[in-house]
Symmetry: D2
Subunit: 348 residues, 4 copies
Amino acid sequence: MKEVSIIGASGYTGGEALRLLLSHPEFTVKQVTSERLAGKPVTTVHPNLRGLTELKFSSSAELEPCDVLFIGLPHGKSQSRFEEFSSKAEILCDLGSDFRIPNPERYAEYYGEPHRAPELLPLFTYAVPEVNREQIRSGGHLSGAGCIATCSLTSLYPLFASGIVREQRVFIDAKIGSSASGATPGAASHHPERAGCLRSFKPTAHRHTAELLTYLPEANGLAPEVYLSATATAEVRGILTTAQLFVEASVTEADIWGVYREYYGQEPFVRIVKDRRSMYRYPEPKIVKGTNFIDIGFERESGTDRLVVLGAIDNLVKGSAGNVIQALNIRYGFPERLGLEFAGLHPV
Amino acid sequence: MKEVSIIGASGYTGGEALRLLLSHPEFTVKQVTSERLAGKPVTTVHPNLRGLTELKFSSSAELEPCDVLFIGLPHGKSQSRFEEFSSKAEILCDLGSDFRIPNPERYAEYYGEPHRAPELLPLFTYAVPEVNREQIRSGGHLSGAGCIATCSLTSLYPLFASGIVREQRVFIDAKIGSSASGATPGAASHHPERAGCLRSFKPTAHRHTAELLTYLPEANGLAPEVYLSATATAEVRGILTTAQLFVEASVTEADIWGVYREYYGQEPFVRIVKDRRSMYRYPEPKIVKGTNFIDIGFERESGTDRLVVLGAIDNLVKGSAGNVIQALNIRYGFPERLGLEFAGLHPV
Amino acid sequence: MKEVSIIGASGYTGGEALRLLLSHPEFTVKQVTSERLAGKPVTTVHPNLRGLTELKFSSSAELEPCDVLFIGLPHGKSQSRFEEFSSKAEILCDLGSDFRIPNPERYAEYYGEPHRAPELLPLFTYAVPEVNREQIRSGGHLSGAGCIATCSLTSLYPLFASGIVREQRVFIDAKIGSSASGATPGAASHHPERAGCLRSFKPTAHRHTAELLTYLPEANGLAPEVYLSATATAEVRGILTTAQLFVEASVTEADIWGVYREYYGQEPFVRIVKDRRSMYRYPEPKIVKGTNFIDIGFERESGTDRLVVLGAIDNLVKGSAGNVIQALNIRYGFPERLGLEFAGLHPV
Amino acid sequence: MKEVSIIGASGYTGGEALRLLLSHPEFTVKQVTSERLAGKPVTTVHPNLRGLTELKFSSSAELEPCDVLFIGLPHGKSQSRFEEFSSKAEILCDLGSDFRIPNPERYAEYYGEPHRAPELLPLFTYAVPEVNREQIRSGGHLSGAGCIATCSLTSLYPLFASGIVREQRVFIDAKIGSSASGATPGAASHHPERAGCLRSFKPTAHRHTAELLTYLPEANGLAPEVYLSATATAEVRGILTTAQLFVEASVTEADIWGVYREYYGQEPFVRIVKDRRSMYRYPEPKIVKGTNFIDIGFERESGTDRLVVLGAIDNLVKGSAGNVIQALNIRYGFPERLGLEFAGLHPV
């Protein structure tokens, strides 16, 4: 049994890591920290865990050594407190955005300030198993990916890597639930304002663009150009990305099928969803709620060269804690599905 | 491994039984039937099961012998086809309402027609473990309870059984999600009509009243009087029951706590939810979504003799398939939590 | 044209008063105040008014004389600042709860602190036209009623006043949208927590009980006993109250119809909703969204003495600003529907 | 007073026309038809109109002459029954899609079958006032536009017409509520399936593309290329379109402002929504619910040549009946806002 602790376990991603780790047969949760709630039971803020754990929050000052340390802190904290954290655990799993972008210039461009510890960037592996499995296996700390980036990158990667896309430009419209904005209340997350909304919150310059520019392969020798717009929806969990790109006129849907089969045929959490009929013929985030699946679909427009690619994930699972636990399973040589078997609900 | 088949597995309760049984370590799903979808994969209507099973629907005419047969048919079908079904399996688990009410007169009163096979009624045990564990253990076919009845009965039972209620009258307001009405589309379930609704659909004479009148114990020698009103909400899963009843002026909240501790202290799926502060201080259906928990809360009004009791369940799990699987675990001597460990999500 | 100003116009009830007054042909909005937003356009927080008004918020220190002054301040402020406000306007319309309960002892019991200006209580008229039209017409300042109180009181009043109820006890379950909690964000109104919720927020001792105890008539010589429980729902606007009470066994639905016809036959904003079939056979809050209607329905249980009464309103219109504007129409002798003609949307 | 009748008034667009016309001071509703509901009050299916009208549905066989005839029939019916309808009224207002595309080849391409009466196509004017006001004024029958087309076309038109776009390609992601699919229940609109959904229902080849190809002007001499994907959301009303296009590097946000001011400065129902801060800084469909507004916003990405354009409407009002009534106001010389003054609600 590996011992895991979670720094910043009162938030949504930290809480999701806690939920998943509590039922994982190879991990035992040792400590969970929250400065604000130190001494209180975790069920104070994670009511779903009632009856399942007696864990209480500690202060991070009381952190003891462990095998794996999850970090669920606000942006910027991990780069400042790296030494403190890395002295406690062999593997850090950062759920935040401090170590996702290896290039400090690109980081500065998208985050609006220089990285404070660029020398640490090479110590982290970007934890998206479908595109980075071998690096994950071989070592280093793990950086969870951005939720929109995970969904877009995983659904688009084979198309770029295989060279089947004709242009380097991709247009992504991401629809995302409110849990992605975290557990801290604010005006925009006040229920009467957010309920029923379709709110463009980042039409341009979304930070996750930086991850896509980094990890999407070149398309026919050209660096990818990523045009991302993000819309907040009234759901709590879930991301749907709708990507538009261009292929040669001769490319058929069977060709696209072939690419996905080649790249993802063995992936335990990728499902290609493409029915002829039925209302479930494309990926839908509500079907993957609570699961580590990414459902991917596509449609080749007849009469044009357009290909539309759809990706659906649960932003807190495949888009955050679940993906990192999958990466840990890979690292430790555990079965990759371990602790991530939940099938999802229907209807829901 | 016990072999289980499911008659009528294309509906929501049958589908939920399928989801739970597929991941239960002591059951193997043998056949699932749907006349309409015979030959088609179950994922046609249960998209959450993609990648998890290759099962296809059969016609019920092809049903083979098995250990346990779940029946998820529309009201009235089980009583007509009992012989056909009981010849195939040792234990029938009826998710419908044909065998919930042992008294044929009461059945006729609430269902508006005479029972067609009253001689079969004694063969079924009402599968609410918290109030009926010993009968469940000892044998007979199992009848799943009504979802509103399960939530009300389980939350109120100890108060009646202990004699702490002063009056035999209880006023129940049940709020319920749309999945309880089943998978067949209709005008009232058309999304533009049902979305955002708070719709009184059965202010009086709700059929589940009959179960409460049957299984609630007498209160101080008086038969219970149950006044139930049911309201449809915009959620998909979940029931919240708000019950009002009266206790002696001297009864304190500590007394109520004592009663629940006595009756339910060892129950694996009952959680008494009563925090002093916090927004999670009472039971809430969204916290138990996908789980087999029933969360129960209460508040004693100061200045009056009123006690308010709250119950929250997932209507498809604790309110249907999950409760029956718990009963099967009891019958077969499996650990009671087996296959029902899902913790629920937060936020959701 | 009467000049109206609004103190505290940045909140939801103040904003709703503003919306309605801007399109009312007999009122002109002179000033709207907000200390926090002084100098900013009202559209900063009321985006629906874009293009319809150039009004900016003032500080209340700049308040000029006007005919009518609406007060949309947090609880407790109106009683402290009465002199300041009453020196500016002939008629005060308090949307808060400071002047709803004429009896200071009852006020103290339900609000947990003594009223600071009990001598002012007789200066205010409780602005529920259906039960108080003559007092409203004859003078005094106006106190808007509590939203749950408005819905319950208006739907139950004729039954108590006519003597048709047998017992003085009434059991009310109120379901209410998130806008009733106001515009200030907090943990319980954070979207991921509140979305999809059915949350018992005040099972006992709800403050609006005090209004019902005050304004419901005696039932056959007995003071009413009101047992109110309130549940927060995932909707933004709307209240549904489900009330259970008892009538003599001989009372028929036709008798109930008769009572409502007698009391409310001429009411411009009361609709008795009781269809034989159809999904719209009972009142539903989403149908009255944005309107000043109260839809009232009922069902007499066969086999018991129970009567269930349903009321549906928009908490910000009939439950607050709209009702007060209706009262102003009465006071000034304007047509009672003036400025309140919006029909409501369907589907919505 | 002009007399208006509505063919097919039981559906959502016909019902919305009815709602708006009932409160329009220059129109009187003469007859409303529904074969299925002939003889029944309109409130049977439009419960919001209770107390506001005594109208009953007639059969279309009983249709009498009138000034204006609205047609709210399923696709294909108007082209077959044109003579019947045009013999009754001077102006036909077709809310369906039969007469939106003047080019029969394009019609056939997108609708999958030849137009049955191409000779009638020139008799209809496309009723989008912002792009077609003069043609609307001058005569002909009126064809309401597709809801997604209205939102996209109106928000993009000035950019194409002014020549400020650099490329002819535009990428549109449309998010749309469930009322756009009409009042007929089906599997995909069954509440448990549609609630909480983000469902790609037409990733390619959406029919409204044909309208955009027809009515968007050339961009620098090149015919527009429109790449539209449509996603169903869990809302009932509302469309948000997110369009991505390219401008010269030198084009600033001030330039874009200038274009919109030039084209739409006098438009009564266009609001350019672009705040620096605040959660309402971009257009949002829930703010325009029930109104005839189209809110338009935009953002110029720094570092790329991308421009993102946002449009928000209520699909049943500006996206259907409201826009046509605005066109009728133009035709008859009524004030353009007449009968369409509703401000919208907030919060909602």
